[in-house]
């Protein structure tokens, strides 16, 4: 009996498997998003490649994709090149003492689910954020809001515990002070998840297939007018070369620098695409500075010495990095902020690529090359760890290049590639010698970046080891409350001079946001941050 039984079993398994295969294939064929790729006809549709899933779109938490959240949710005000501009708030008043902000909301705004956007909704949203305050300590405003009151159907009052000069800037950020329909709250809260993702933005989330794609459709009732691009799809494509192929084949038709500053395809590939005539490559003006951050407070590491940091600065061949690694698309950065950044036009001495100068600095500081290839001082070697984002190929390439050059001056760098979240964690816990980082972008520079010098979550460990740390922190505190332009300018100059002299932020290049888009796409623009793009302004002729 057993023999026939087994034969039957084989047949059974095989047939099941075949059936499963057929049925699944069939389903995919009908329900897939295969038609979403941009064809020859310029339909008003964009499919952009994204390394990661859009993830949880809850705007009051942090796992979600910022570009995606940026088109679904909006803040009260917007940070632009020309300063703070109205968005969901038509206008606002600030009380004499600087502690009460009164926002007058637009009256023609509804959430995607039809709920009205009004003072009550604003109050509920901000209060929900504040009830989860421990997750938002990085944004100082969250600790300074005393009360939110609805002073009328479309008037909201925000009372602060003390005056706070960057309040509006922080209100303009992509998260957490943005608004989701109160109907999506679960039990009056957003901190444990939300039941839907209805914002007020130009696009609404229509479909989300985890780890595959997310579809955003134009919001017909958008207060700023329905966007011309009818549909935006975020397609998950983890690897660079797949993205390039997908672009070539039209499976995706849009690519941009992601929120971590990494491009999913390399410059050469972009140029190839552009020369094919199907695509255009658009770059923003320099948005931020990519840099290596040195941990001055790590006493047991050579990196705590100014001379060592300066030597590294001298050993970075920015020109080559800019020319070879970025094919000239990013320019060499000699200072932490490029001079077009507000308050940053300060005269600072450039440290050029000069290995002899670097060697001399080390020699003078007592690091001598006795035997072997690595300098030593009091028996300990001149060796440090450099952390880079494992998903960014350009960081890795730069790290390897720098490692190879500093070897010539008798310095040893150990390279460690980690996930960006892990690197952020190292930055806040001080568990690093050197790591790659970037300034936060035009909207945040210099004030937010400089405020972060003193912030424990950001650059506290970077700056706290320097001799003039106290002075630095005092000046940072002063500049945040100073209301006089001239003294603000002087303070910023002092601050920038101190960190420059201490060489704790070793600049590499000025980064920009790059967009690869179909040749016919018009209206490509950028925001003041590298985290979002204004899709609603784009259109096909």
């Amino acid at each position: 009996m057993s023999k026939t039984w087994s034969t039957g079993l084989i047949a059974f398994i095989v047939s099941i498997v075949v059936l499963a295969g057929c049925s699944s294939g069939g389903k995919e064929g009908t329900g897939g998003a295969s038609d979403s790729g941009g064809g020859a006809d310029p339909v008003q549709e964009l499919v952009y490649a994204s390394a990661k899933d859009i993830n949880d779109m809850n705007p009051h938490l942090y796992p979600g994709s910022m570009p995606a959240q940026g088109i679904v949710y909006e803040s009260l005000v917007e940070n632009t090149k020309d300063g703070i501009r109205p968005l969901l708030a038509e206008s606002w008043d600030i009380s004499e003492d600087g502690t009460v902000y009164t926002f007058h909301l637009r009256k023609d705004v509804t959430f995607h689910d039809g709920e009205p956007f009004n003072a009550e909704a604003v109050k509920l949203n901000i209060e929900a954020v504040l009830r989860n305050a421990e997750k938002h300590t990085w944004i100082k405003l969250s600790a300074k809001i005393k009360e939110v009151t609805a002073a009328g159907e479309h008037t909201v009052e925000l009372k602060l515990t003390e005056p706070y000069y960057p309040a509006l800037v922080e209100m303009s950020m992509t998260r957490p002070f943005v608004f989701i329909s109160p109907k999506d709250f679960i039990g009056g809260e957003t901190k444990d998840g939300v039941s839907g993702y209805h914002g007020t933005g130009p696009y609404k989330l229509a479909e989300h297939k985890t780890e595959q794609y997310a579809v955003f459709e134009a919001n017909e009732h958008y207060w700023g007018g329905a966007p011309k691009i009818r549909k935006i799809t975020s397609k998950v494509l983890p690897a660079g070369e797949t993205t390039y192929l997908a672009l070539q084949k039209g499976e995706v038709n849009f690519v941009f620098t992601d929120d971590r500053g990494a491009d999913s395809i390399d410059v050469e590939a972009m140029n190839q695409l552009a020369s094919s005539g199907k695509y255009q490559v658009v770059r923003s003006e320099p948005m931020n500075t990519k840099m290596i951050v040195a941990n001055s407070s790590r006493a047991d590491s050579p990196v705590s010495e100014t001379a060592v940091r300066e030597a590294i600065w001298h050993a970075v061949d920015r020109e080559t990095i800019s020319k070879s690694i970025f094919s000239g698309t990013e320019t060499a950065a000699e200072t932490l902020f490029s001079s077009n950044v507000n308050y940053a036009d300060v005269k600072l001495e450039h440290r050029s690529y000069d290995l002899d100068a670097a060697r001399k600095l080390l020699e003078d500081a007592g690091w001598s090359l006795e035997s072997g290839e690595v300098r030593t001082k009091a028996g300990s070697p001149l060796s440090m760890k450099l952390y880079y984002d494992v998903n960014s190929s350009s960081q890795k390439t730069q790290a390897e290049l720098i490692q190879s050059t500093v070897k010539k001056i008798g310095m040893q760098l150990e390279l460690i590639g980690e996930e960006s979240s892990s690197i952020a964690n190292r930055r806040s816990t001080g568990d690093y010698d050197l790591l790659f980082n970037q300034t936060w972008g035009l909207a945040y520079d210099p004030q937010s970046t400089i405020a972060a010098f003193a912030s424990e979550t950001s650059y506290y460990h970077t700056t706290s080891g320097i001799a003039r740390a106290e002075e630095l922190y005092r000046k940072i505190d002063e500049v945040m409350v100073s209301r006089d332009e001239a003294s603000r300018q002087a303070l910023y100059a002092d601050i920038l001079t101190i960190v420059h002299e201490e060489a704790v932020f070793i600049p590499l290049t000025n980064g920009s946001v790059t967009v690869v888009a179909p040749a016919g796409l018009q209206g490509i623009a950028f925001k003041q941050t590298q985290f979002e793009l204004p899709f609603e302004r784009m259109y096909f002729e």
Partner: protein
Amino acid sequence: MNIFRNVWKDKLAFLSMSVVAAIVIVGLFAPVFAPHDPNEANMELRFASASWEYWLGNDHLGRCILSRIIYGIRPSVLWVFVALAASAAIGAAVGFLAGYFRGRTDAVLMRICDVMLSFPGYVMSLAVVGILGAGLDNILIAFVLMKWAWFARVIRTSVMQYAEADYVRFSRAIGTGHIAIMAKHVVPVSLPDIAVASSSAFGSMILQISGFSFLGLGIQAPHAEWGMMLNEAREVMFSRPGLMLAPGLAIVIVVSAVNFLSDALQTALDPKLMKSGKKRQEQAAAASARLEGREVA
């Protein structure tokens, strides 16, 4: 030694053996063979094509690809071999104990092996790396942790055959110590089986470890490793497909040489096993058991 003489006779096996030996020697003495420093960047030579000075051209940092391939032998092949040897040694020890003493020892040890083997090896390596963090050392640890049980199984089976042989019984009867018996009668005869088992696992381990490096979980930059080189080449795969060639071929050559060699070892052992149809069937079953050791990356 007969086995090795047989392997010698087989031309293909001889070729494979020479290839493996050559690779091991080149890897061991990498500084002698490599024409350049594998980590020395020279951006002027970025993506340069082959030249008399750089036979295989240069990579994205202008480093010598040939030198990197040569230095890459160390993590890609030699360290894998060390991990293999470690897990084979642990497995052999357990296998000897279980196969020789039988009874309760065997039952307990085999239960443990069962548990270890019921974890899908690749999945667990992935999990261990995920928890301990990326890096070649952690991958190797994960492999040793996952592979020893499989060796223990294979070796136990082989030991059981020999432990029941008449001369072993005789030695036992005249009161020779366990360790002496094992050292004298059991270990030497099961060595060929260990060799076959290890060689059949070797190729797949090379593949798997390079796969981890490819996923970015393996060795850290700038050290050269073939999987890592492929990962680097992958970024410019369509603009410069040539970069994928050298490390890819290096892996294919080593792994096929190792596999051919393993196959030759197996056939060299065969005459003993193949005489009767019944034994052959057992062999087929053994082959299927071995298969689990040969998961693909």
